[in-house]
């Protein structure tokens, strides 16, 4: 039994991964999965309605699950269908997360009114929306970095309400009871001209594909725009009629009509827009499989296995940890590859994908280290970083679509794949050195498990990784300078993000020079490496919080407290490292 543990762990992991990849059937009679795969143009790219529903819900309420007032759980697709076609019903769903008590008082609400104390419905907020608008207008002229918590919260909530209202105008307009019937009569169509204009103005979706198949997304139109161009019922675009039919059958609970409309539309899309249909299907499948969530849980298991292996069954549990981490890495790799294919971009394009990639790069290094040293230390460090970065990525995904379009200056696959990937690898390896050092310090001070052999192995790993980090952070930073010289006219501008990257290079250089010069020994090098975590965290997140500079692409205030906590924890570990060696449990009685 004992010797089969690694195999069993891997097999269980594989089974679970396989289960997440199985296509999920529809729970009810409606073909919701098929509906979720219909492509629309939104935010500059073609994506499935499933993505609209999921990213929308994550943004509004921080989770994808929706509870109806009667306590029933509905899927993201059902929620989206209600928003489109039964807005009165959807308005009662508590999907707006409000944490700030001062914002609640705008609507005369208390925490007791909300689901879980934090989620409220559009209807609950309706009476106070004008006041919300006024407060947001007051807050908007204040620069982002200088806004108070209340100001940030009102600006954010107003953008959420706007997103929701725009969705309601996406396929139909609230107030039109039956669009399919209205479109059958020229006079009734003419009477709705103003409504179509409103739909065209407000809709955030362009759901109507161009008449002739083309790869240019600019040809997609909003339903409102398409209807404005149709003079008579015969001129109405057939795709508009598909969505009108879907609306009618959803309202009237006619699953057969709904399913056949979805089926025939998907068949037509596959024939006329094969690329868009393929992308859309893949993305919806990717959303449902949630590879990064799978990977996250596998990292937890790998970490536990590695940590337990230091206490008993070192060989078997160590190998099991290595294999489970390898599986988690594989799943994350597939996830990243799918994202790259969907986007047609190198792996790192925004803060979210940088989190994915930092975790990926660290784990890749750990797989190599573990192969060399076989002491479960690299498995533990790798799964810890893999887990942490995926948690960070999950929180970053709450701000909306993570496959967003690249702003003009960033629109360069060459520099994204050289500078950004290299510098992110530098971040990843600096973090890895720091986490290995944490293991050294915690195991040395708090446990008796850090024998001289493991200690020396860890020291070699940290040294090697710091060398690697120096190389990549340096080359990455310099490539960034060259990109800046190409696009902004100066190699170096002392912009916060540039400074942050330079700090990492300098700090790695400090570690190497201290060690080469004999200014520090093992313990000192570990303390220095842990401080590398602080420097890297600052460069990664802290510089964005300043809200200045050409690079500030991701401001997020909740991250500020996370950063403070992280820095404090790292300083605490460094403090622990400063305890004299004689008091370390592992070295008690051993001459250091």
């Amino acid at each position: 039994m004992k010797k089969h543990v690694p195999l069993i762990a891997l097999a269980l992991g594989l089974l679970w991964v396989g289960a997440t990849l199985l296509p999920r059937g529809n729970a009810g009679p409606f073909d919701l999965a098929g509906f979720g795969r219909l492509p629309v143009l939104s935010g500059g790219r073609i994506k499935p309605l499933d993505t609209i529903a999921r990213t929308g819900l994550l943004m509004l309420q921080g989770r994808q699950r929706v509870m109806t007032p009667s306590g029933k759980e509905v899927t993201p697709e059902e929620w989206l269908l209600d928003v489109f076609f039964l807005p009165e019903t959807a308005d009662a769903y508590q999907v707006f997360r409000i944490d700030n008590p001062d914002v609640l008082s705008i609507f005369s609400l208390t925490r007791a009114d909300g689901e879980g104390g934090v989620r409220f419905s559009y209807r609950q907020m309706q009476a106070g929306l004008d006041e919300l608008d006024r407060q947001a207008h007051l807050a908007e002229p204040v620069e982002n970095a200088e806004r108070s918590a209340f100001q940030r919260a009102v600006v954010e909530l107003r953008s959420h309400v706007e997103f929701y209202v725009r969705l309601k105008f996406g396929l139909e307009a609230p107030g039109i009871a039956d669009l399919a019937a209205e479109l059958s009569d020229a006079a009734r169509m003419a009477a709705l001209h103003a409504s179509f204009e409103t739909m065209d103005t407000f809709s955030s979706l362009r759901a109507v594909p161009p008449a002739r198949a083309s790869g240019d997304p600019a040809g997609w139109q909003s339903v409102g725009h398409s209807l404005l161009g149709a003079a008579s019922p015969s001129g109405v675009d057939p795709h508009v009629l598909v969505y009108a039919a879907l609306g009618k059958s959803w309202r009237d609970s006619q699953p057969d009509a709904f399913n056949s409309a979805v089926r025939s539309y998907r068949a037509e899309l596959s024939a006329n827009f094969p690329a868009a249909a393929r992308r859309s299907n893949t993305e919806a499948f990717f959303n449902q499989a949630e590879p990064f969530i799978t990977s996250l849980f596998l990292y937890v298991i790998a970490f536990l296995l590695a940590a337990i292996s230091w206490l008993s069954w070192p060989g078997e549990l160590g190998r099991a940890a290595f294999r489970v981490m390898g599986l988690a890495f594989l799943v994350a790799t597939l996830g990243i590859l799918v994202r790259m294919w969907l986007e047609g971009r190198p792996p790192v394009t925004n803060l979210y994908s940088s989190a994915l990639f930092i975790g990926w790069g660290s784990v890749a290094l750990c797989l190599v280290l573990e192969k060399l040293h076989r002491n479960a230390v690299a498995s533990a460090a790798g799964s810890m970083i893999g887990f942490s970065t995926l948690v960070i990525a999950h929180h970053l995904s709450l701000s909306g679509d993570t496959l967003e379009m690249m702003r003009a200056v960033l629109d360069s696959n060459f520099w994204l794949s050289t500078h950004v990937v290299t510098v992110t690898t530098g971040y990843a390896s600096t973090f890895l050195a720091g986490f290995l050092a944490i293991i050294y310090i915690l195991r040395g001070v708090l446990t008796r498990s850090l024998d001289p052999r493991t200690a020396d192995a860890l020291a070699r790993m940290v040294y090697g990784i710091v060398c690697f980090a120096t190389l990549f952070s340096f080359v990455g930073t310099m490539l960034g300078g060259i990109w800046a010289d190409q696009s902004w006219g100066r190699f170096w501008g002392w912009d916060p993000k540039e400074n942050g990257a330079l700090l990492i290079v300098i700090w790695n250089a400090v570690i190497l020079h201290c060690r080469w010069g004999g200014l520090v020994r093992q313990r000192g090098m570990m303390a220095l490496a842990v401080f590398g975590n602080v420097v890297t965290a600052w460069s990664w997140f802290g510089t964005n919080m300043l809200g200045v500079g050409l690079h500030s692409y991701g401001f997020t205030s909740a991250a500020f407290y996370g950063l403070i906590t992280f820095v404090a924890s790292q300083l605490a570990v460094i403090g622990l490292a400063l305890v004299p060696l004689g008091s370390w449990r592992s070295f008690r009685g051993v001459k250091a």
Binding site: R407, L503, G517, V548
Partner: protein, 421 residues
């Protein structure tokens, strides 16, 4: 990097001063001090602190202010509270960079021997020396400004972002203007300005680095204006604090009194906020007076043919900006059309022109113009450093694997450790 023996890096002895021949001179001690690794580490840590503080200060000072205060200075100065004095509180970029340069050069002259095992370090350090020199030269020599072009407009000059000048032009001849440009710093002084091309003197009466102009009709009980001539008689200039924000500019404003041999001609308000030059006649010639961004004239002209601003469909996310420019050199050798777009600058005549922005409903393109004769140095140094690091760590890694593959029996872990480069 030290002369520590390979194989002992993990637990080396503290760096002991090396034995010196008796009667070692003061020079010897100094050289060893400047070449020491302790100094390297100290300088690196000081740079780290300085860069971090400067990054934080950027919120208040803006990137340009921070460059002047921290990076392009020998000392970071701070005002002593309650007095007008400034005291150096921290070494600045030039001092730290210079000291690092000295440290590296002396270390190589003093301690380093050129061996195969240290070839990567040598390359890396030569690259860093070049990088430091290049950054120093950029700080001293780089000039930048902008060219704002409306569609169809032609310009032959670059306007400074921050420096202004008082342009006094004789426009009597319709064929050309005869311009005398006076740096704005002179307006801030007390001295009367006299120039052989000007038949009058200019006496600065008041100067504000930044000011807001208001129409006198908009202000209740306006104070009397200092200006007796030109547009300034209808305007009140209110001094404003100097701004460092990247998206805001300063509007230097002043009052100048012009005087001929027979006495004063009057007092004019000059301000960067006034769009149009002020015209007057004196001794039968027509003159223009304008406070404007300082100009660097080019030996060629740029004409904006077309400006495009692409967005992603259904969003307002910019996809690309591009300016089609007609470039004509004065010597007639160049007359061609060039496209300047994001990540695709035009390098010509020692200048590089970048697509920086747009205005005026996409009818105006803003190009940033940079002249930096040393712009190629970082490219060279990056190549050297990258090569050096790859070489050095490659040598280390190779050594590590060779020792692993070799007979490990009897060797303690410390002895199998990667060697010190």
């Amino acid at each position: 990097m030290s002369k520590g023996k390979p194989g002992q890096p993990l637990k080396p002895e503290p760096a002991a001063p090396r034995p010196r021949p008796e009667g070692a001179s003061l020079v010897r001690t100094l050289v060893s001090g400047f070449a020491s690794l302790q100094l390297t580490v100290a300088l690196l840590v000081l740079s780290l602190v300085m860069i971090f503080v400067a990054t934080l200060d950027q919120v208040h000072l803006g990137v340009w202010g921070v460059q002047q205060k921290y990076f392009h200075s020998f000392f970071v100065m701070a005002k002593v509270a309650g007095t007008g004095f400034s005291l150096p509180v921290f070494p600045g970029g030039y001092l730290l960079g210079g000291a690092l340069l000295l440290n590296l050069v002396t270390a190589h002259a003093d301690r380093f021997r050129l061996t195969w095992r240290k070839s990567g370090i040598w390359l890396t350090h030569v690259g860093i020396i070049l990088l430091l020199i290049g950054e120093g030269l950029s700080g001293l020599m780089q000039r930048d400004g902008q060219v704002r072009l409306d569609v169809g407009q032609t310009k032959r000059y670059v306007e400074s972002f921050r420096e202004s000048e008082l342009a006094v032009a004789d426009i009597t001849n319709p064929g050309y203007d005869d311009v005398v440009a006076i740096p704005v710093a002179r307006l801030a002084g007390q001295d009367v300005i006299q120039h052989p091309k000007l038949p009058f003197t200019i006496k600065p009466l008041a100067f504000f680095p930044n000011a807001v102009l208001r129409s006198r009709t908009q202000v209740a009980n306006p104070p009397p204006s200092m200006a007796t001539m030109g547009d300034g008689t209808d305007v009140i200039a209110e001094p404003a604090p100097v701004t460092y924000k990247p998206d805001e500019g300063n509007f230097p404003t002043g009052y100048v009194e012009l005087a001929g041999p027979d006495g004063p001609l009057g007092t004019w308000l000059v301000s960067a906020m006034l769009d149009q030059p002020q015209t007057f006649t004196y001794q039968g010639r027509t003159w223009q007076l304008a406070l404007r961004a300082q100009r660097d004239y080019l030996p060629f002209t740029l004409t904006l043919g077309k400006f495009t601003h692409d967005i992603y469909p259904g969003t307002d996310i910019p996809k690309n900006f591009a300016s089609t420019i007609r470039l004509r050199s004065d010597d007639g050798r160049d007359d061609r059309s060039v496209l300047i777009s994001m990540n695709n600058p035009l390098r010509y005549g020692g200048f590089a022109f970048y697509q920086a922005g747009f205005a005026n409903n996409d009818h105006t393109s803003v190009l940033e113009a940079v002249r930096n004769p040393s712009w190629q140095i970082p490219y060279l140094s990056c190549a050297l450093i990258t090569l050096g690091l790859v070489l050095q760590f490659g040598i280390n890694l190779f050594g590590f694997f060779r020792r692993r593959a070799g007979p490990a029996s009897g060797a303690s872990p410390a002895q199998r450790a990667p060697s010190s480069p």
